[in-house]
Symmetry: C2
Subunit: 410 residues, 2 copies
């Protein structure tokens, strides 16, 4: 990947790229009329498409239907409701097909070109009535400014809307790529992740789009964890409509690398937003592992640290309890020499080394507290055994996580 690729942050989320509009409405799946519960994304021309799905054996019905629709590598629209996951229901597949069909009719496209998704409670029948009744309004909500509404319509326990877009060049043409995401609890992706919808006007074949996405998630969405629970409805998908007019990307090379870098900028931003908005979270945790013998080792260590309930609770309390970092590395099954590990904590308030060669060093508890009271904490782990590195993202464990999940259904 060339470092020379220029990237500029732009407004507009999933509508930043040419030819895309989006929208969101309250149709009545949720009781609260102030909360949008149905979202749409639309490309004025059909695009290539790629997706990755949860590895949970229990798979939401919408994922099954989307997978069928994307078999030809093409898509033109996304429909997604919140408030009900449409999972573990007897008629889930039928409902997901009806959702696709209703949107296709409204937009005058093929049902086969619709990506369908749902998020919310598992195991409660999803009523098609409010969705059918709201379809006209949903179509009417489509606009170039609609990314924020779409981001809002897919939120469950999320407290912030998650959108991002960047501009970059591909073969001399200006391209844009942007995305929205939802996810706050039940986040511990494995090969795929929470609901993420990405749009781009770059021209790229569906094969290369899938390759870019499948490669990217290994170091992005698969490296975040809020609570160790892998959802049944996780999905990340991308639509590329080619309206930027670049020479289509159909193989490896400079253009593919530039696209990968732009995609990665979007996905890392969304990962940080997802982890930082973990249910009840007050802090974003980023663990950076360096000096690992290989990539697998680096990733295993980073993810184990981020997943430790004990470390997460310590971070909530701004407690520099580095023994819990070492403990989490120790049980990660990664092949490390514990006597070579250095650990530091870093935030905008500074950096402090708390462990060297696997043993504690004297440090100022006062300074450590000051660093750990910040909203974004970096946990730096140097294994001193090689050159591989990896990052993982998570959040602290708080009273509010327990509160939110102690009675989610009612």
């Amino acid at each position: 990947m060339k470092e020379s690729v220029k990237m500029k942050k732009v407004e507009g989320g999933v509508c930043a790229a040419k030819g895309f509009t989006a929208g969101g409405i309250h149709c009545g799946i949720r009781k609260n009329r102030d909360k949008k519960d149905l979202s749409v994304i639309f490309s004025e021309v059909p695009g290539t498409a790629a997706a990755v799905y949860t590895t949970n054996l229990v798979k939401g019905a919408p994922l099954v239907v989307t997978k069928q629709h994307l078999a030809d590598g093409k898509a033109q629209a996304v429909i997604c409701n919140s408030g009900n996951a449409n999972t573990c229901n007897a008629n889930g597949i039928e409902i997901a097909q009806q959702m696709s069909g209703l949107l296709a009719d409204e937009l005058g496209i093929g049902a086969n070109d619709v990506i369908v998704a749902s998020t919310g409670v598992i195991g409660q029948p999803l009523d098609i009535e409010p969705i059918a009744g709201g379809m006209k309004a949903l179509g009417a909500s489509l606009s170039k400014d609609g990314s924020t509404d779409a981001a809002e319509g897919i939120m469950t326990t999320d407290t912030i809307k998650k959108e991002i877009a960047v501009e970059f060049e591909l073969g001399g043409k200006t391209c844009r790529i942007g995305g929205i995401a939802k996810g706050s609890g039940m986040i511990h992706p494995d090969m795929a992740t929470m609901l993420v919808f990405i749009t781009t006007d770059a021209a790229i074949s569906s094969a290369m789009l899938q390759k870019a996405l499948s490669g990217d998630i290994q170091s992005t969405f698969n490296m975040i964890s809020v609570d160790g629970d892998t959802s049944t409805n996780d999905m990340v998908c991308v639509i590329a409509n080619g309206l930027a007019g670049n020479e289509p990307v159909t193989g490896e090379g400079e253009d593919f690398s530039a696209f990968m870098k732009a995609l990665n900028t979007v996905t890392v931003s969304l990962c940080r937003m997802l982890a930082g908005d973990g249910e009840g979270a007050t802090k974003l945790l980023e663990c950076t592992v360096t000096g690992a013998s290989d990539l697998k080792c680096a990733k295993t260590v980073a993810k184990s640290v981020i997943c430790s309930s004990l470390l997460k609770a310590a971070m909530f309390g701004a407690d520099a309890n580095w023994g819990r970092v070492l403990c989490a590395i120790g049980y990660s099954k990664a092949d490390v020499d514990v006597n070579k590990i250095d650990v530091s904590f870093r935030s905008p308030k500074g950096e402090i080394c708390v462990c060297r060669n696997g043993a504690g060093v004297e440090f100022s508890e006062e300074k450590a507290k000051e660093i750990l009271l910040e909203k974004e904490i970096e946990i730096l782990v140097e294994l001193n055994s090689g050159t591989a590195s990896s990052k993982a993202w998570g959040c602290d464990l708080t009273y509010d996580y327990v509160k939110i999940n102690g009675d989610y259904r009612t």
Copy 2:
């Protein structure tokens, strides 16, 4: 294992068996003078011994020393402090050796026959001074009534003392086996578990004792989880001093089976106490999986359910959110047919089926709430795919878990 083995619960914990005494004192490792921090168990004659240890790569120094001492399969005493784990310290091994030596001198036995253990904060030097200064008092504390004091001296965030003893027959002789345990957080054992000390007056070779213990923990201590964190200092050990006078158990057979059953009675009791006293816990959760295709599948499913933060929080809120049980089974990697799964919740208030064939069934939310408000909840998972079964134990996730771990060190 014959069901005819008679087992009677008796008082006395680790002192229930002939020839064992125990005690505990406050020596000054902890600042709080009201909290005991040093414990001892002593057998008047040397016994055979067996142990299992944490699989965490970061291993407490006491475990390394104990492993050396048990290489000959013999032990006569246990010393254990709380308040400091003596782990990730430059001079940890030396301190653990000094602890063994000091106790050996006090009791007039070989240092090689001492099992040494520590529990508490990781990565802070353990001062030998208070231990050396308290050694006379520790020796003097030994008594036939001392099991409770010993159980208290090894507690960290535990809220209840954990001890149990049973009486059974072996070759016509009355034998006893009893144990004490500590553990509340950082509990997710893997091949070994929290600190558990078991004593028996049965005569059994060290090889068969190790075989009994290594076999037993697979379905007991390895099937509990409080928070998914595997400690660096986990250890379970048994001393058998043979004073019951039974024909020594030196191979498989009826006597070995009877011993296994007695051991299992003690370990299952301690497991339930450990899980039910998980940090901040208000409920003991027991997941029973039946109808699995094989034992591995049953264990994987049971443990995945018990480990789900989302389910644990739902149980705290007495919320019959069975979708989280299915979700946890789905990501467990166990080979199951999700469309065959039935789920019920049971407690002293009754039993309620909430999911059949992988989909929700109508049930009374009121009745479910009544069942789930109890202190001990059974989660019954029927996979309908075979005859293997397994149990796992855990606890709910509460505000207090976060509180306890948000600032453990200070």
